[in-house]
Amino acid sequence: MSKLPSRASVFRRVLVALGGLLILLLAACAQESPQTTIDPQTAFGDDIQYLLKLTFFAAVGVFILVEGFLIFVVFRYRAHASETGAPAQVHGNTRLEVIWTIIPAVMLIGIAVPTTRIIFDTQAPAPKDSLPVTVIGHQWWWEFQYPTLGVTTANELHLPVGQTAAFSLESADVQHSFWLPRLGGKRDVIPNHVNELWWAARDVGTTPGQCAQYCGTSHANMRMIAVVQSQADFSQWVQAQKAQPAQPPDGSAAAAGRAVFARSACIGCHTVEGVSQGKVGPDLTHVGSRTILAAGIISNTPEDMARWLKDPPAVKPGSLMPNLHLSDDDVNALVAYLESLK
């Protein structure tokens, strides 16, 4: 029979294990969370953050008080064998009842007042000089239209830093929810309703977002990114988007790809300026300039694009884009063509 460990060594081992766990937890916390809601980059986000902190610390305070008292009561009043008879049969205390009705009510007023202010502030009409953006939710991708700039793109929202973007949210099919966590709260996208949302991004950078209202099979795959750029970069991007797509030189792989595109069902659903006018799927006029494909679930590399073109529903379950049973050559040509559409 092996020797039992002494109490002290058991204690030490528990400590070590706990310490290990703690380090593990810290390591986990330190992980990057690109879609976090608690690192706001807009004034709207700051307002939300303020309310979150207010309610959170109020909640923590109440939590500590009430749970603490609960634990105290549980330990203090546990029955002892020595006790005989019943404890004092207290039936209640009206004064206490009034107190613990009023105190929470007062605390809630403390939350309600800033809440109301922020509700009305954030839902006021957007500032006059803001950039209008029409967001259209589709099953399972995002369409972004810039009506004043004449640009249409998909899944990749480009915004100038510091300028308010006024979103008008529409849906082409079912309910979605437009949500870029770092840039502010979500707003549902509802068919036959036009919802409004506006904010100005503070810093340059790329931040992910995704649909937050369950919208069918590939709800999980309905992602997007917001690219916040300096005014100059943004103007440059707009110019590039408005330009006619590049014409592939004759005899190149891209030209072959354009031929495949034009003689396949692609043209029914996709627009490429000067080639086709499909409205069902994303506008592909400048697809080569995007960094993501298929609503952000794959990156825009030739390999990923080939995988996507070969069998879209395998990449994004339920995808409306059918498997066109393209040959490998056709796929390669198409990839060359689409990647050339910068």
Partner: protein, 229 residues
């Protein structure tokens, strides 16, 4: 029931019931007359008057015929809670959907939403008799919704449906065509179903992709196509 039985002694007599009926009759008559008095409507008085009158009728039937006025007050509570909540819910819902301040406002139709207007389609079908018994093929309505929502409009146009691409044939007069699939198949429901199931197998290289439709979807689409004038 003891309280109930004792309460019954105070129930109105039969002549009382008849008097109540006369009152109800009169109130309804006033309602209907008020409906035809144009000035009331112009002055926005019609709705309040009608609502008041019908509330009085409501209370009269409840109070006298249902004996709420005479029976235990508990019944009043049971019924009243439901009634009060019912009225509140109607008013709140109307408020939240802007029906109170802007009544009768039709929704803005959004251009991104493919509009299927069943009735327009139906009006166009007037005088058109389908070649086949559509019900035995599939469900036309489902087929139409499917046609719009699942991308067929990307390439095809059809009567009664706004928008629609011009890559594939316009599906108007579908049943009058002698053949389908560019002449490869006769224009029969069986052939259409076969075609929709896998166009590439019938006509390799066709622009029409295999949309991985299931049997029900194929039948409904076929029925829809044959319903087109």
């Amino acid at each position: 029931m003891a309280a109930h039985v004792s309460g019954e002694e105070h129930h109105p007599s039969e002549s009382g019931y008849i008097r109540v009926a006369i009152a109800l009759f009169l109130f309804t008559t006033i309602e209907v007359i008020a409906f035809y008095v144009e000035p009331l409507r112009l002055l926005d008085l019609l709705a309040p008057i009608l609502l008041l009158l019908s509330a009085i009728k409501f209370a009269t039937v409840g109070g006298w015929y249902m004996h709420l006025k005479f029976d235990s007050k508990i019944f009043m509570v049971f019924f009243g809670v439901g009634l009060a909540l019912a009225a509140t819910v109607i008013l709140l819902l109307m408020t939240l959907t802007s029906e109170l301040d802007r009544p009768g406002k039709p929704f803005q139709t959004i251009n991104t939403q493919p509009t299927l207007q069943a009735v327009q389609a139906e009006e166009q079908t007037k005088g058109f008799t389908p070649k086949y018994d559509l019900k035995s093929i599939g469900n036309v309505e489902l087929g139409r919704e499917f046609f719009v929502s699942r991308g067929c409009t990307g390439c095809h146009q059809a009567p009664g449906i706004q928008g629609g691409g011009q890559i594939g044939p316009n599906q108007a007069h579908f049943s009058e065509r002698p053949t389908i699939a560019g002449g490869l198949l006769p224009n029969t429901p069986e052939a259409v179903e076969k075609w929709l199931k896998n166009p590439q197998a019938i006509k390799p290289g066709t622009l029409m992709p295999d949309l991985s439709l299931n049997e029900d979807q194929i039948r409904d689409l076929t029925a829809f196509l044959y319903s087109l004038p």
